[in-house]
Symmetry: C2
Subunit: 714 residues, 2 copies
């Protein structure tokens, strides 16, 4: 095995070591008062119980997929094992992240009672653990399986076994991700929406008030949704993007496959180092309280050092001036072209962060307009929020379009893939910023419930407000990169078909008999099966989003009734003389979330298969493959808009409420505030359930299509 592969493995292990070391540091911190520990224990117990149940259910679904893969690939173990590796590592990243998160929350509360800097450190460290685990495990999984298949089992890097193994590994990650995003999202937003409606609006008690029976469930939700769910999501985007880039490298550059397949791994490896470096710069300036500034300092350091590191890697591997390949239109490109694609990926990251902050930050027009519209009532608040959510799709779409065209002109399809890979290589740092959010959210809840003095709550609130922004920013990043990553998957789909057709129709060929006699597929928009595929693909995010929203609505409605019942049966709760039954709310939501996550998760898995077999029966192979291909683009196009509008809109509603709570338009308790709470409620399943779950959904559709192709090729 080459030194280069060992170095990548080393980088993955370093990320895990960083995580373990930091976890040790966080867990050694003091946990505050008995009351704080008691609350934290309840949250831990609920989160653990939920995740156990979620992973058990996923394991059953996973076992079915495992067997189907085995059968579809005629008992070849490579895809099935790849799938298992992806699934297990994704699950592990989320699970360990959650384990740390539910222990860091109470320590953050304690640290926040000492100083803002201390609170920030603990919360950010907790986030960084999850972040490094995500990037480290993802990279390790990819490089290890690649090494096992090539070095261990002797497959050529560009062989179908390696390609199928990598795609199946992506499917494993995606499957966990869609389940975790949906299940966790339904749990957390069911608790949040239900708790807020009955607590804040009806009973008039503040958020996280211990008298609200849904409050522990709400805090559990932060961990299983925003922490474990998000970790699975980014793990998936990382794995899928790097794997798709490797696959594309193997198809496009058969002669130098090993080198082009190693390139994305190398980018991933160096960016783990730069992400770790960035974490050391997350510190408040002397006397400063600019938390966002401290976080951005870390992100900027990671970004700039990544720029240098990717440059060095590219120069080492390809040089800057020699022609190393050709674009699809026959133009030669150099190592420098690839490096510029990497730079483009970093620029896109920066722009999307900035655009998301514009649409979800309290300092800008969109959030202020939502806050202002709350003055005239619930209805206008929601209308304005929906309007902002729709408008917010325009700039990201334009950035993505410009990036696609620029990268393609620089280095063809592989240029696009390189840009996304570089974007995703920062995942360690980005997840760190995001996983910071649920920890501070919990920390505030614990401060409130354990009756700590107001100044502690003020500190955790300040941290929490920043957490809301970073959560929104991360989602914008995740969706932007997911859209680009999915395009790379689509490119892999079309190139795979070309590849099979060429091989099958070579004189005297006996391989890939399915593709014998087929000529090039053009996916022309003049072909009605392509239009049909686009529309069917386009409807998937809508149907999926609709089902997910209804699931949250149902879960929240059930929580509202449960809380009302408890208030009625135990009138002492409101006087503080009786204890609410927190566990009942947690158990109820666990059952609801697990039940509700299954059907929508099946949608992206089954749709490509159904479309393929239906069109095959009606109009034959070529139409079927065209329709499935178009469907992949359809799901990307509407998926991108649905996901961006939902996450941006949700963020805007959330911060419009915060803006009013900061004393604008009448402040807390005013009519405008009530309207803003309604908007926030609507935004919750938008931004934390349906929107982010569209991410893995888009990619599963694409990956299943790729595996279908591989199975057809035999």
């Amino acid at each position: 095995m080459s030194l280069a592969l060992w170095l990548v493995i080393g980088a993955g292990l370093l990320a895990i070591a960083y995580g373990a070391f930091t976890a040790n540091k966080v867990l050694s911190l003091p946990t505050g008062t008995d009351r704080m520990r008691e609350i934290a224990a309840a949250i831990q117990e609920g989160a653990q119980a939920y995740l156990n149940k979620q992973y058990t259910t996923i394991a059953i679904a996973g076992a079915v997929v495992f067997i189907v893969l085995l059968l579809a690939f005629k008992l070849d173990f490579v895809p099935a094992f790849g799938f298992a590796i992806g699934a297990v590592l994704s699950g592990a990243a989320g699970f360990i992240g959650m384990l740390v998160s539910v222990r860091a929350n109470v320590r953050t509360t304690q640290a926040a009672s000492e100083s803002l800097q201390k609170g920030l450190s603990v919360a950010f460290d907790a986030g960084a653990i999850t972040g490094m685990l995500v990037a480290g495990l993802a990279l390790l999984g990819l490089v290890s399986y690649y090494a096992i298949l090539t070095v261990g089992m002797g497959h050529a890097p560009e062989s179908r076994s390696v390609v199928n193994g990598l795609i199946a590994l992506s499917l494993g990650a995606s499957l966990i991700s869609v389940f975790a995003r949906l299940g966790g999202g339904i749990f957390t937003k069911g608790a949040d929406v239900g708790g807020d409606m009955v607590g804040k609006v009806e009973a008039g008690i503040p958020e996280d008030d211990p008298r609200n029976p849904a409050t522990i469930a709400d805090n559990v939700g932060d961990n299983v949704g925003d922490c474990a769910g998000m970790a699975a999501d980014l793990f998936e985007t990382y794995v899928v993007t790097v794997a798709a880039t490797m696959v594309l490298g193997s198809i496009l550059f058969t002669a130098d496959a090993a080198q082009f397949m190693f390139y994305p791994l190398a980018i991933g490896a160096v960016c783990i180092l730069t992400s770790i470096a960035g974490t050391f710069f997350v510190k408040l300036g002397k006397g400063s309280t600019n938390i966002m500034g401290a976080l951005y300092k870390g992100l900027i350091v990671t970004g700039l050092t990544s720029l240098v590191a990717v440059g060095i890697v590219t120069f080492q591997m390809f040089g800057f001036s020699e022609t190393i390949g050709q674009t699809e239109q026959g133009a030669p490109f150099t190592g420098l072209s690839l490096f510029l694609c990497g730079v483009l990926g970093l620029v896109v990251t920066g722009l999307i962060v900035w655009i998301t902050e514009y649409y979800t930050g309290t300092a800008y027009r969109p959030v202020k307009s939502v806050a202002k519209s709350s003055e005239s009532g619930h209805g206008t608040n929601v209308i304005q929020g929906l309007a902002v959510s729709m408008e917010a799709t325009a700039l990201p779409a334009i950035v993505i379009v410009v990036a696609i065209v620029t990268a393609y002109n620089l280095a063809g399809l592989f240029g696009i893939a390189t840009a996304v890979t570089t974007m995703l290589a920062l995942a360690g740092m980005i997840v760190a910023l995001d996983a910071f959010g649920p920890v501070t959210d919990n920390a505030g809840g614990i401060a409130e419930m354990s009756g700590l003095e107001g100044s502690v709550r003020d500190t955790t609130d300040a941290l929490d407000a920043v957490g809301n922004t970073t959560k929104a920013v991360t989602k914008g990043y995740a969706i932007g990169s997911a859209g680009l990553g999915a395009l790379v998957l689509f490119a892999a789909y079309t190139k795979d078909i070309e590849h099979f057709i060429t091989l099958a129709n070579a004189p005297g060929s006996t391989v890939h008999p399915y593709f014998k006699g087929m000529t090039e597929l053009t996916f022309s928009l003049s072909n009605p099966y392509v239009i049909a595929g686009l529309l069917i693909g386009g409807l998937l995010p809508y149907l999926f989003g609709g089902i997910a929203m209804q699931a949250v609505g149902r879960a929240a409605g059930a929580i509202v009734e449960e809380v009302r019942r408890q208030f009625k049966e135990k009138p002492g709760i409101m006087q503080g003389t009786e204890k609410p039954d927190y566990a009942r709310a947690v158990n109820m939501l666990t059952g609801a979330a697990i039940k509700e996550m299954v059907v929508p998760s099946m949608l992206p898995i089954l749709s490509p298969l159904v479309v393929y077999f239906v069109v095959l029966a009606v109009a034959g192979k070529v139409a079927a493959l065209s329709a499935v291909g178009a469907m992949l683009i359809g799901v990307i196009v509407t998926g991108l808009f649905v996901a961006i509008s939902m996450t941006a809109g949700g963020g805007a509603w959330d911060n419009a409420k915060k803006y009013i709570e900061d004393g604008h338009h009448g402040g807390k308790g005013s009519e405008a505030h009530k309207a803003a709470v309604t908007g926030d409620t609507v935004g919750d399943p938008y931004k934390d359930t349906a929107g982010p779950a569209v991410n893995p959904m888009i990619k599963i559709t694409n990956i299943v299509a790729l595996l279908l192709l591989a199975a057809l090729a035999g």
Copy 2:
């Protein structure tokens, strides 16, 4: 001029005669008490003033487009005049419809005070006038200009002059439509949302209470939005579909162009007869109060007789068994195939009506689920409504996909066009059902404001409830047909390019020099400019919808403040001792709506031009034409989903409120009712402003692209 053309002209004139005769009948009816007349006069005055101002603004925009067309086509008057004809007739249909509607309202109130049957008759007659004017004027405009160009000026039917004239005529209709839908939609929903929020929710007075200063504006809005706006919308869809089918016929069947171009006109002509026949069957059964049943009776009669009539026309023109053409894949098709495509169009109409009723009717799960979710608060109501709105896109999309594939297999692209033409040929009847809505809505308002006894209001309420359903159903129909019609436009775009390329590259050719040396465009999804075009097209409905929603939000917010101000300055209003200043609210909204409609209307006109010139500068002609083509599909794909989800969701919210008002979940005044009012408020701009305006928007983008091609071809 052939007898056939005279017969079509005769059918168009018959529709207008029917309208004039029925108008005379309606206007001769009694107008009730002085108070009723006074209110009706205020509504008339407001509507008239609004439309005058709207059409003045549109005239300015229209004059600019007229001049641009003249210049773009090197002073050829054919496109510019076509544009003017389309615009003027579309405006006339809406204007006359509104004139009748604002006079029929008070007569409906008076008739409803006598019996349900009488109220139904007057309201339906008023709707039928608008309906027949829409279909009649649209058909007359098309056939007359076609006759002038071919018979009068001697152009060959398949010549570019005729094609460009027809496309420009469509642009005229589309331009009026997008302005009317947006302007009228912003006016009506600004009044409705603002009035409801401050009246129903804050002051606790019922809808249409004369003490609410926004109440006249609300009734004006019904006429300028739901009547004039909708008439312009359906006029546009009719004209665009028939014109696109004619253009496609001329390109695909150069040898028999005259026959294939006449076919859609013939379908339109016979379906005017069947629509008129249908109107005579709209009557309540003896002792029955099933209003919806009476309306459906008319629709079913029209549908069944149209089936027969289209069969006869097709048989007469083509016979059933001879091969009359080939699909794009070379399969021969017969007259019977075309007839079956017509049948398919009628089946699609039936299915879409049924699906829309399922999603917006009070008898089914979706509306009931929204009503139920209102029990737990404003937030869950909105969440459930959004979920229903997203889910509601799935079945229509599948119906459209199946229709595309079936029609294409029957008779190629022209088969798809025939199916949509037949669908649209029922427009006379469909508009009659829809324009019925605002008349009954107004009638109820007049009954309330003039203090008639409760039983009159009950009768108008019963009519109004049915009007809500028919309005939703018509919108589903309009959008489904618009999506299919837009696909026909896209087909015309691709076929036009093929056509120009073939001519330009014939040996020794000097025509269409722009296309010299170009080879076939494939619009392949593997081309990054196609992906870029898809994404840019996809963002247009989102951006457009977002801007339209914000406009309504702003207008409504302004009305809320105006009403609050009046309540404060004139405390006598609420006691009934002072009169509110209705005119002020009307004037304010007029200004707001006109101002707000301009920018979003420019979006679909300018986008194809901007995309073309930007991509041209970056990557040349082929990339530019590919990107623009893909953009057309992008705008259709997301536009279809955005429009269907908005109109279905809005209808569901509206009827969920009605369902609660009928005594479910606590009935009027309950907390659930308040939540349902919020949902209804959100649904208003969804279903009556942004959603339906997406319709013409999709088509303008396509038509501008077609005209751009024509201008490039020189």
